[in-house]
C-alpha cells in the first residue's frame, strides 16, 4: 500500500531515475557475462518505456497545466528547484527517445566490443533525455541539456568504427558549446525575470507569467537559437552530423542522429517559443531563410553523395531543417507538423540505419559503387527497405507524409514563397531517398554482392516488425499521435496569436515593469520559508 502511494506520488522521479539506476546495476555485472548484460539492457530499456507510458497514461494530458508535479528546493539562494512535471509534449518526446534507446539496445551486435559500457552509456543518455523532458525548472532543464553530451561522448568512444577520439571530441565540442549557450540563455532569462518580479526564480510557470521585455528577448533568443541549432545540426553547424553519420557506428550514431538531436527540438518548443515569442515573430523571415537554406542545401548535397552513410548524414540535416522551419512558422500546423515529422524521422531513420549496418556487416563498404542488384538476391528484404525509403520520401499513407504536409500547409498560410521552397525541399528529399534504394538494391550485381551471403534477414525483420507497424499506424491515423500534444501546442499558438494581434494593432508590446535594482531580490527558497 505504502509502496503504491510512494510510486504514485513520485512517479516522475522514478521515470527519471530508473535508467540511471539500471545503468548503475548493469555496471556491477562482470564483463564476461555478455548475454546477461544484453538481457539486462533490453529489460531496463523496456521497463523504462513501460514506466514512461504508464506516467503518460496516468496524467491527464488534455489539461492545460503540468501534471504529476513534484517540487523540492534545490539551490534556494538562487531560486532553483528540483521541479518535475509532465504534459503531452514531454510525454511524446520521452516515448520517442525511449523507443530509440530500446532499438539501440535490441539491435546491438552479439559480438560488439564494450557491450556493457555501450548499454550503460545509452541508459545514462536516456536519463539525461528524461531530465530535459520532465524538468519544469529552467536551470534543471538546462543542466540536463548540458549533461546530455557527456554520455553521448562515451557512447561514440565505445562504438565508433574509426577516428574515435576525433569524432567524439568534435561531437562533444559542438554539442557542449550548443548546450552552454542554452545555459547562458537560461541564466539571462533568470536575471531579467528576477529583476522584473523581484524574486529569484527559474520556475517555468512564473517565468511564463512574467514575460520578458522585447529588448531583452532579442539577444537571449539569438543565444538560445545558436545553441539549439548546433544541437540540431542545422546548416552551417552540421559538421558533426556528417562525420558521425559517415562513421555510422552502431548504435552510437543511430541513437544520436535519430534521437539525441530531437532534444533540441523539444527545448525550442518548451523554452524558446513560449518565453521568447516577440523575438521569434520579429525575426521569422530571417529564421525561415536559415531553416530553408539548411533544408535545400543539405538535400542537394545528399543527392550528390557517393557514400550512403554521408547521404544519410545530409538527409538528417535536411529533415532537421524542415522540422525547424515548421517550428519557426509558430502556427499550429507548423508545430504539429514538426513534431509529427520528428517522431517519424526518429524511428524511420533508426530502422534505415539498422539495415545499413546489417548491409555493412555483410559487405564492409560504404560506397554505392560496391553495391547493386541486391533486389534479386534478397527480394523480401529489399521490399521491406523500400517501404522505409518510401516513408522517408514522404509517400502518402506513410508516417512522414502528415508531418511534411502540415508544414507545407502551415507555410502556405504565412508566405507562399516559403511553401514553394518547402516543396522543393520535400521533392529533393524524395529524390535522395529513392537514390538510396536504387543505388543499393537495383541495377546489376556487383562482384562483392555476388560473393556475399545474406542470412538472418527474417530474424532482423521480425525484430523490426513492431516498429514498422507503428510507422503504418502513425501514417494512417496521425491524429492519434498528435492528440496528446494538442493542448501544449494550442497554448503556444495562443501566445503567438495574442502577440501578433498586438503587433498588428500598432500598440507597443508591454514590457514588464523593472525594479530599480536586483539587490532587493529575495531568493524564492527564503521567501517560501
Amino acid at each position: 500500500m505504502q509502496a503504491s502511494v510512494f510510486y504514485a506520488s513520485n512517479i516522475l522521479s522514478i521515470v527519471l531515475l530508473f535508467p540511471l539506476g539500471s545503468a548503475c546495476l548493469i555496471a556491477l555485472i562482470p564483463q564476461n557475462r555478455r548475454r546477461f548484460v544484453s538481457i539486462s539492457g533490453v529489460l531496463a530499456a523496456l521497463i523504462s518505456v513501460g514506466l514512461a507510458l504508464h506516467a503518460a497514461v496516468s496524467a491527464n494530458l488534455a489539461a492545460p497545466e503540468m501534471q504529476l508535479v513534484e517540487k523540492h528546493h534545490w539551490i534556494p539562494s538562487i531560486g532553483a528547484q528540483y521541479a518535475l512535471g509532465l504534459d503531452g509534449l514531454g510525454a511524446l518526446f520521452m516515448l520517442i527517445l525511449d523507443g530509440i534507446g530500446l532499438l539501440s539496445v535490441l539491435f546491438m551486435h552479439r559480438e560488439a566490443a564494450r557491450k556493457k559500457e555501450t548499454i550503460i552509456s545509452i541508459l545514462v543518455l536516456m536519463f539525461a533525455a528524461h531530465g530535459v523532458f520532465l524538468s519544469i525548472d529552467l536551470l534543471l532543464l538546462s543542466l540536463f541539456v548540458c549533461f546530455g553530451p557527456i554520455p553521448a561522448l562515451f557512447l561514440i568512444q565505445f562504438t565508433a568504427r574509426t577516428r574515435r577520439s576525433n569524432l567524439s571530441m568534435q561531437f562533444f565540442i559542438y554539442n557542449l558549446i550548443g548546450s552552454l549557450l542554452v545555459v547562458v540563455g537560461v541564466l539571462s532569462i533568470h536575471v531579467v525575470v528576477s529583476r522584473s518580479i523581484g524574486v529569484y526564480t527559474f520556475d517555468l510557470t512564473k517565468i511564463l507569467l512574467s514575460g520578458l521585455p522585447v529588448g531583452a528577448q532579442s539577444w537571449i533568443f539569438w543565444l538560445v537559437l545558436a545553441g539549439l541549432s548546433i544541437r540540431m545540426g542545422l546548416f552551417p553547424f552540421h559538421g558533426w552530423v556528417i562525420d558521425l553519420a559517415e562513421d555510422a557506428a552502431f548504435p552510437g550514431s543511430m541513437f544520436i542522429l535519430a534521437g539525441f538531436n530531437k532534444i533540441a527540438l523539444f527545448v525550442m518548443l518548451r523554452l524558446m517559443l513560449p518565453i521568447l515569442p516577440d523575438a521569434l515573430i520579429q525575426h521569422t523571415p530571417l529564421l525561415m531563410v536559415f531553416a530553408l537554406v539548411s533544408t535545400v542545401f543539405a538535400a542537394f548535397t545528399a543527392v550528390a553523395q557517393e557514400n550512403y552513410n554521408k547521404l544519410v548524414g545530409y538527409s538528417v540535416v535536411h529533415q532537421m531543417g524542415l522540422i525547424a522551419a515548421g517550428v519557426f512558422l509558430a502556427n499550429k500546423l507548423g508545430m504539429l507538423g514538426s513534431i509529427s515529422l520528428a517522431l517519424s524521422h526518429a524511428f524511420v531513420l533508426a530502422m534505415i540505419m539498422i539495415i545499413l549496418d546489417y548491409l555493412y556487416s555483410r559487405i564492409p563498404s560504404v560506397l554505392f559503387l560496391e553495391f547493386g542488384g541486391l533486389i534479386r538476391k534478397i527480394p523480401l528484404f529489399s521490399a521491406g527497405f523500400l517501404i522505409l525509403v518510401m516513408t522517408y520520401a514522404g509517400l502518402p499513407g506513410l508516417t512522414f507524409f502528415p508531418g511534411s504536409f502540415q508544414i507545407l500547409l502551415g507555410s502556405v498560410t504565412i508566405n507562399p514563397v516559403w511553401a514553394c521552397i518547402v516543396l522543393i525541399g520535400l521533392f529533393l528529399g524524395a529524390l535522395y531517398s529513392l537514390q538510396l534504394f536504387l543505388r543499393l538494391f537495383a541495377g546489376s550485381e556487383s562482384s562483392l554482392v555476388r560473393k556475399s551471403a545474406f542470412s538472418d534477414t527474417v530474424a532482423l525483420w521480425l525484430k523490426l516488425a513492431p516498429f514498422l507497424l507503428l510507422i503504418f499506424a502513425a501514417g494512417l491515423s496521425p491524429a492519434r499521435i498528435t492528440n496528446p500534444i494538442q493542448t501544449p501546442i494550442h497554448k503556444i499558438e495562443s501566445v503567438f496569436q495574442a502577440r501578433r494581434m498586438l503587433m498588428r494593432s500598432g500598440q507597443p508590446t508591454p514590457a514588464q515593469p523593472m525594479t530599480p535594482g536586483v539587490f532587493r531580490l529575495k531568493p524564492t527558497g527564503v521567501d517560501a520559508r
Binding site: 571530441m169 565540442i173 558549446i177 552552454l180 545555459v183 547562458v184
Partner: protein, 475 residues
C-alpha cells in the same frame, strides 16, 4: 587591548604550527631527528592547529595591533591549508619521498604557516612577509624533492621584490607614507583611497600593478608559471598539488580582502584591468594546456583555474554591488571546494597522476572515479564545479559585463576540453583489458570520494547554505 586568552583564541593555530617548527629546529640542531619523529611532530601540530581553530569561530578578532584578523572567513582558508598539508604528509608516506630527518616537514610547516598568516593578514607588509614565507618554503621543499639545483630559477625570480616596490608606490600614491605608524594597514589605505588626489593616481596604479605582478610571480600564476610545470610528471607532483591548493586558498583570501580595500577606486577602470588579467590567465592556461603533452596538460588544467579565482575575488569587491557580495563570495568558496576536494584525493594517491601513462586505471570503477574528479575540477554539469561557474556567470550577467562574460565562457570551454582530453589520457578508450590492478581499499576510497563529490554536485544546497551562513555572519 586583547587579553592573552583572546589572543590565543585568535592566533592559536599559528602558535601550534610555530611551536612545532621551533621544536623541530631545536632538535635538528642538537640531535638528528628521525624521519618518523619529524612526521609525527608535524601531524600532531597540524591536528592541534585544527582544534585551535574552534575558538576563532566565537567571533571576529583583530590582534597584533589590528594587523591580523581572525574571523570565520579566515578560519575556512586556514582549515583548507591545514587539511592540504595533513593529506600531503599522509600521502608522502605512500610515495616514500626520499628526504632525511625533518628536511621535508620543516619547510612544509613553514609554508603552511605562511599561508595561514597571509589569509589573516590585514596589513600590506605582513602580507608581503607571509607570501615570502610560503614562497621560500616551497623553494626549499622543491630542492629537497627534486634533489637537484633546477630550482635556482624559481629562487631567483622569487627574490625579485615587486611586491615591495608595489606596496611603496601604493602607499606613496595614497599619500599616507608616514613612517612610525601602521600606515600600511588595509583600513587606512582604504580611507586614504577615498580622498586620493587625481595627480597621485598614475603612481598609485603603477604601484598596484607592481603589487599584482609581484603576487603573480610568488603564486606562480600564468604567465609566471615558469617553474610549476617542470616538476610534472616526476615524483614531485605531490608538491605541485599541495602548492597549487595552498596558493588557491591564500589567493582567494588575500585577493578578497585586497580588492575590498581597493573598492573606492575599482570603478576607475581597475575592474576592467583585473578582469582582463583573470581572463588572460584562464585563456592562456587553457590554450597552452590543449597544445601540451599529457602531464603538462594536467598542470595547465589546474593553473588555468586561477583565472576563475581572481574573477571570484573581484566579484566580491565589485563597487556598489553590496547585495551580490554573498553570492560571489559563496562562488569563491565553492570554487575552492571544487579544487580542494578532488585535490585531496590526488594528494593521497599521487600515483594516479604521476606517470605519463596511467597503467593502474584499468578498472571501470577507478575510471569513473577519476572522471568524476576531473569533471568536478573542470566544472562539468551536475558536479560541484559547475555550480561554482554558475555563480560566476550569473554574477557577470547581473553585472552586465558582456566582454568578460564572453572570455570567461571561452575559458570555461577550454578547461572542459582539457578535462575531456585528460580523461582520454586517463581512461584510454582503446578496448583493452579492464582487469583490476588497483587494490580494493583504493577502489573503495575512490568510489566513496566520487560519490561524495557527485552527491555535493547533485545537492549543493547544504554546502552553499553553510558558506552563506558564514558569510552572512561576516557581513
Amino acid at each position: 587591548m586583547m587579553t592573552g586568552r583572546g589572543m590565543f583564541a585568535a592566533i592559536g593555530p599559528e602558535i601550534c604550527i610555530g611551536s612545532a617548527i621551533l621544536v623541530l629546529v631545536f632538535f635538528e640542531r642538537f640531535y638528528r631527528v628521525s624521519r618518523h619523529w619529524s612526521r609525527l611532530t608535524a601531524l600532531v601540530s597540524i591536528l592541534f592547529a585544527m582544534i585551535a581553530l574552534v575558538p576563532s569561530l566565537s567571533g571576529p578578532a583583530m590582534v597584533l595591533e589590528s594587523v591580523y584578523i581572525a574571523d570565520f572567513y579566515t578560519v575556512i582558508f586556514k582549515f583548507v591549508m591545514l587539511s592540504v598539508s595533513l593529506f600531503l604528509i599522509i600521502g608522502a608516506r605512500r610515495t616514500q619521498i626520499q628526504t632525511e630527518g625533518s628536511d621535508f616537514h620543516l619547510p612544509l610547516l613553514f609554508g603552511t604557516l605562511g599561508g595561514m598568516i597571509s589569509a589573516g593578514s590585514s596589513d600590506l607588509f605582513l602580507l608581503y612577509l607571509s607570501v615570502e614565507l610560503t614562497a621560500f618554503s616551497s623553494i626549499f621543499m622543491l630542492m629537497m624533492l627534486k634533489n637537484n639545483l633546477h630550482s635556482h630559477r624559481f629562487f631567483f625570480f622569487n627574490l625579485i621584490g615587486f611586491q615591495v616596490i608595489g606596496s611603496v608606490c601604493l602607499l606613496a600614491g595614497a599619500g599616507c607614507l608616514q613612517i612610525g605608524a601602521h600606515e600600511s594597514h588595509y583600513s587606512l589605505i582604504r580611507d586614504a583611497l577615498r580622498n586620493v588626489p587625481t595627480a597621485a593616481l598614475p603612481v598609485f596604479f603603477i604601484g598596484l600593478l607592481f603589487l599584482l605582478f609581484g603576487l603573480i610571480i610568488k603564486w606562480n600564476v600564468i604567465p609566471a608559471h615558469y617553474y610549476s610545470l617542470r616538476f610534472l610528471p616526476d615524483d614531485a607532483v605531490q608538491f605541485f598539488i599541495w602548492f597549487f591548493l595552498m596558493i588557491s586558498a591564500s589567493m582567494t583570501a588575500i585577493l578578497g580582502r585586497l580588492f575590498a580595500v581597493l573598492q573606492p577606486i575599482l570603478n576607475l577602470g581597475l575592474t576592467d584591468i583585473i578582469s582582463t588579467i583573470s581572463m588572460a590567465i584562464l585563456i592562456a592556461g587553457g590554450v597552452a594546456g590543449i597544445g601540451s603533452a599529457s602531464s603538462r596538460k594536467f598542470g595547465y588544467f589546474l593553473l588555468a583555474q586561477h583565472g576563475f579565482i581572481v574573477l571570484a575575488a573581484l566579484a566580491d569587491a565589485s563597487p556598489g554591488k553590496a547585495g551580490i557580495r554573498i553570492d560571489s563570495s559563496t562562488h569563491g568558496l565553492l570554487m575552492l571546494a571544487t579544487l580542494c576536494i578532488p585535490g585531496i584525493y590526488f594528494l593521497l594517491f599521487p600515483d594516479r597522476i604521476q606517470s605519463q601513462r596511467i597503467t593502474t586505471e584499468q578498472s571501470m570503477t577507478n575510471q569513473i572515479g577519476i572522471l568524476v574528479l576531473l569533471g568536478t575540477i573542470a566544472g562539468m554539469p551536475f558536479t560541484l564545479g559547475f555550480h561554482a561557474r554558475l555563480f560566476t556567470f550569473r554574477w557577470l550577467i547581473l553585472d552586465r559585463s558582456t566582454i568578460t562574460f564572453c572570455f570567461a565562457f571561452l575559458g570555461y570551454l577550454l578547461i572542459i576540453m582539457l578535462s575531456v582530453q585528460l580523461s582520454a589520457h586517463f581512461s584510454r578508450f582503446i578496448p583493452r583489458n579492464w582487469s583490476v590492478h588497483a587494490i580494493w581499499a583504493e577502489r573503495i576510497g575512490l568510489c566513496l570520494f566520487g560519490s561524495l563529490l557527485l552527491g555535493l554536485g547533485l545537492i549543493p544546497a547544504p554546502l552553499i547554505r553553510v558558506f552563506e551562513s558564514i558569510l552572512h555572519r561576516l557581513v
